[in-house]
């Protein structure tokens, strides 16, 4: 074991990194200042109106009325029924895991009520953790549904026409009843901020040693690749912990974002996410030859991860190819995780998927970094 990983050597490297981090005052200030600044900027600035969001339909009686409703809803451009025939329980699961943004429920007695001219009801549950998702889609609902029924009425005429007017669309804005954008943005910001500092700082890890000429010395000493890697990334867990505290405190006090889930579960997610990030940064530093290149690599990664992860634009509203790219970014999975825990009160089982994916990223990046690390100057 001592040949691959000695605790003494690891602690020695960690101590050295910590001292260097503390001496570099500007960087140190940035690591604490950036989260607050970004939080305030993005937290107050971002808003949006997406279309083509995935929806599930719960309609036990697949009659022509429900079909008319579905096609009318799709025509608005806001809905896309990816799960056209599910049970209520499935619908609940789909919206909880974020696979759909809406669950439209047409009760089994809907057709009968239309024909009798009674008060038919449909229920639209919207995932309002991202209020942008919900607002536009919900705004058009009432009239669309009513007109759909009117067109469909034809021969049965009168009764149905009056039923259409009496149609009652019940909207549940799930998880974020008031549609407050910050509820969505602020937890997402935690992911973005962590990503920014963790990846950028660790991307410098090896290139800084190379540029300062200390790499030759480090390599001439009996340190192993895994010790160097862990020694360089572990100090950032402390930085990450501080940033998490800053953002969560600000989320609560400045933006009043609710925290309905388990803090421990969130911490578990953050831990795995940070692990994936610092190792990813370390991979960059094994690829780049200078700090400048490391920086460029980092930014090359930042842009898609901010745009395609579901932070800026609702993930399900993006074209499929963009969603595929999004799936390869750790931030995407972390956003599902943190929004799930903070806003939906998700359980461990609910976030198992993103958690496992992030773990997979961490393991994959670690192996990649270790295979890239050269113990010689070749």
């Amino acid at each position: 074991m001592t040949n691959f990983l000695s605790l003494r050597r690891l602690l020695t490297i960690i101590r050295k990194e910590a001292v260097q981090m503390r001496r570099d005052r500007i960087t140190f200030a940035m690591m604490l200042g950036v989260p607050l600044m970004q939080l305030l900027l993005f937290g107050f600035a971002i808003n949006n109106d997406p279309k083509g969001l995935p929806a599930a339909l719960v309609a036990p009686a697949q009659d022509r009325y429900s079909r008319a409703l579905v096609s009318a809803l799709e025509l608005t451009g806001y809905y896309r029924f990816t799960h056209p025939q599910v049970t209520a329980a499935e619908g609940e699961r789909l919206i909880a895991t974020g696979q759909v943004s809406f669950v439209v429920t047409v009760p089994s007695d809907f057709g009968r009520k239309v024909m009798r001219g009674e008060h038919p009801q449909i229920l639209i549950e919207a995932d309002a953790t991202d209020p942008a998702v919900a607002s536009g889609a919900i705004g058009t609902l009432g009239t669309v549904a009513a007109q759909a029924l009117l067109r469909e009425s034809g021969t049965e005429a009168e009764a149905e026409a009056s039923a259409a007017q009496k149609l009652d669309v019940v909207v549940h804005r799930r998880y974020n009843p008031e549609g407050i954008t910050q509820y969505n943005i602020v937890p997402g910001l935690l992911g973005v901020i962590l990503q920014m500092t963790m990846v950028m700082m660790t991307a410098m890890a090896l290139t800084r040693e190379i540029e300062r000429g200390t790499m030759e010395n480090l390599l001439s000493m009996p340190v192993t690749p895994i010790e160097v890697m862990l020694g360089k990334v572990l100090p950032f867990f402390v930085v990450g912990a501080v940033q998490v505290m800053v953002v969560l405190t600000a989320a609560k006090t400045i933006f009043g974002v609710p925290f309905v889930g388990s803090l421990w579960l969130l911490m578990l997610g953050v831990l795995v996410f940070v692990m994936a990030l610092v190792v990813l940064g370390y991979v960059f530093s094994t690829l780049a030859r200078t700090q400048m290149q490391a920086m460029q690599l980092t930014f090359f990664y930042f842009l898609p991860s901010i745009l395609l992860s579901g932070f800026m634009f609702p993930f399900r509203g993006m074209p499929t190819w963009a969603q595929w790219i999004g799936e390869t970014l750790p931030l995407t999975h972390f956003l599902r995780l943190i929004r799930g825990v903070m806003l939906k009160g998700a359980t461990l089982a609910d976030i198992a998927q993103p958690l496992l994916t992030l773990t997979g990223f961490a393991v994959f990046f670690s192996l990649l970094a270790l295979s890239r690390f050269r113990q010689t100057l070749d």
Binding site: R15, N217, S220, L377
Partner: protein, 305 residues
């Protein structure tokens, strides 16, 4: 321990199509101080890096302290002290922090740091940042750090570049003191006075080992004759001598002119003729190591395609 500290044969390293080190073989006995000489870019650093496990040779083999340089690089790293050409400790750490980093990495006991500080007279500066040290102190720190784990073999890559004469003298005294206790030292340099302080020297140029042995052996092997022209019009004498048959080098030394060549009789003929013409005296002299190196350098440049 009678087996050599370093025994490498035919070491070769290519960077792209350029052969930086070309079939270099070196043997160093335990307790020896061996000089490694050559002009800038001759492959000294690359050779040293291959021997201390920092570079993998493209061809050749060998053992350092009994460890295979191709397969057992980590064992070599543990037992060799390597001082890099450029100061490569952490400038944003203090002297004591740098030393305790080294101590931690080599698994040395906790008091090793204070002992080393004491040994090298660095105790009063322990809290100073390494980056703020002068060249001489940086070199002391680097030396302290690379002998801290009591290596059996020390490889020093141009350790005294940019260091003042007094610090250089002290540095060499330290090296000799360590060698007396059994430490083997391989030191690269292009200072002639330093080469003369070594037990044996290896001269490398354009990646090829050109000459090796004691200083006297290397000088003798070069087969050079040196005469001095003293007095007279030296500037004119230099002009006349340059390019004459038998004359390979003409160099000013104060008011003297050193005239050096491989062909003794031809050299003396030319020198005598010019001395008479410019009113100088001809004095027989010993060839210096520097003269030999200049000669070797010129010769190997000629060999380049």
């Amino acid at each position: 321990m009678t087996s050599p500290a370093i025994a490498v044969t035919e070491l070769t390293k290519r960077f792209g199509s350029r052969t930086v080190v070309d079939r270099v073989s070196i043997t160093v006995q335990p307790g020896e101080i061996v000089g490694f000489l050559g002009p800038n870019g001759s492959g000294k650093t690359t050779t040293i890096r291959m021997m201390c496990g920092l570079l993998t040779p493209d061809a050749g083999s060998g053992r350092v302290l009994g460890h295979d340089i191709l397969r057992n690089q980590s064992a070599i790293k543990r037992e060799v002290g390597y001082m890099t050409q450029r100061f490569s400790f952490y400038e944003d750490l203090t002297i004591a922090e740098n030393l305790s980093f080294v101590a931690g990495v080599y698994g040395l006991p906790a008091d090793a740091v204070s002992e080393t500080l004491e040994d090298l007279g660095l105790t009063s500066r322990r809290a100073q940042l390494a980056g703020s040290l002068s060249g001489g102190w940086k070199q002391r720190l680097a030396l302290a750090a690379c002998i801290m784990h009591r290596p059996k073999l020390l490889m020093l890559d141009e350790p005294t570049a940019g260091v003042d004469p007094k610090a250089r003298r002290e540095f060499w005294d330290e090296i000799h003191a360590r060698a007396a206790t059994g430490l083997t030292v391989l030191v690269s340099t292009h200072y002639m006075d330093e080469a003369e302080r070594c037990h044996r020297i290896n001269y490398i140029s354009y990646g090829k080992l050109i000459s090796q042995g004691t200083v006297a052996e290397v000088i003798a092997a070069a087969g050079l004759v040196t005469v001095i022209l003293r007095g007279g019009r030296t500037a004119e004498a230099q002009e006349r001598l340059t390019g004459q048959p038998g004359v390979d080098q003409v160099a000013h030394w104060g008011s003297d002119l050193h005239v050096i060549g491989r062909d003794g009789p031809a050299l003396r003929r030319a020198a005598t003729a010019v001395a008479i013409a410019t009113g100088a005296r001809v004095i027989e002299a010993e060839t210096s190591l520097e003269d030999v190196f200049i000669q070797l350098m010129g010769a190997s440049t000629d060999n380049m395609p």
